[in-house]
Subunit: 101 residues, 2 copies
């Protein structure tokens, strides 16, 4: 079955002494994001070779769903307001298409 | 700049007492995979909320490059031969396209 969706891979690089704080905030942001109507999944992972490198795999019904996530109160408060200031850099990759199940 | 490539997201679910072993084997497989001519990146991550859930983000020049990876001696020996038997399940997602840099 081929399902179409909008897959986001967000790479976050935490300041060395802020890794634990970023992970805790991401858990809070994940819970809120999963409630969004257009969100299909929201999971965050820590690099096995570089603990400061965290990746978020977010899947939405479509690009508009991701934009609504970015405009949401919880992303603005937790993501933009609290997490991003704790990062040295970040990179967001977007894929439209299908993932054969 | 829009670059086209072949992005693979592989979700591995390790047996509860095999997480450390899987991570160590993935480090070995990562080193070998990064030497492949068609490999652009190979990184593995552990879920921040479920340590048994490991994701590999692999990027290749094209689909053929990923197939050559699957046929490689090191994937057959380490991936298929040693890691996969330590998993309860796995899911591989493939995306062709571009990631705006």
């Amino acid at each position: 079955m081929t399902a179409t969706h909008y897959q986001v891979i967000a790479h976050y690089f935490a300041r060395p002494n802020q890794v634990r704080a970023v992970l805790a905030l991401l858990a809070e942001l994940a819970r809120a994001s999963r409630q969004e109507p257009a969100n299909l999944s929201y999971e965050f992972f820590q690099n096995g070779e570089d603990p400061e490198h965290i990746v978020i795999l977010e899947r939405y019904v479509d690009a508009a769903g991701f934009e609504r996530h970015r405009d949401s109160e919880h992303f603005q408060r937790i993501g933009a307001g609290q997490i991003i200031p704790l990062l040295t850099s970040r990179r967001v990759e977007r894929y439209e298409g299908s993932a054969e199940e």
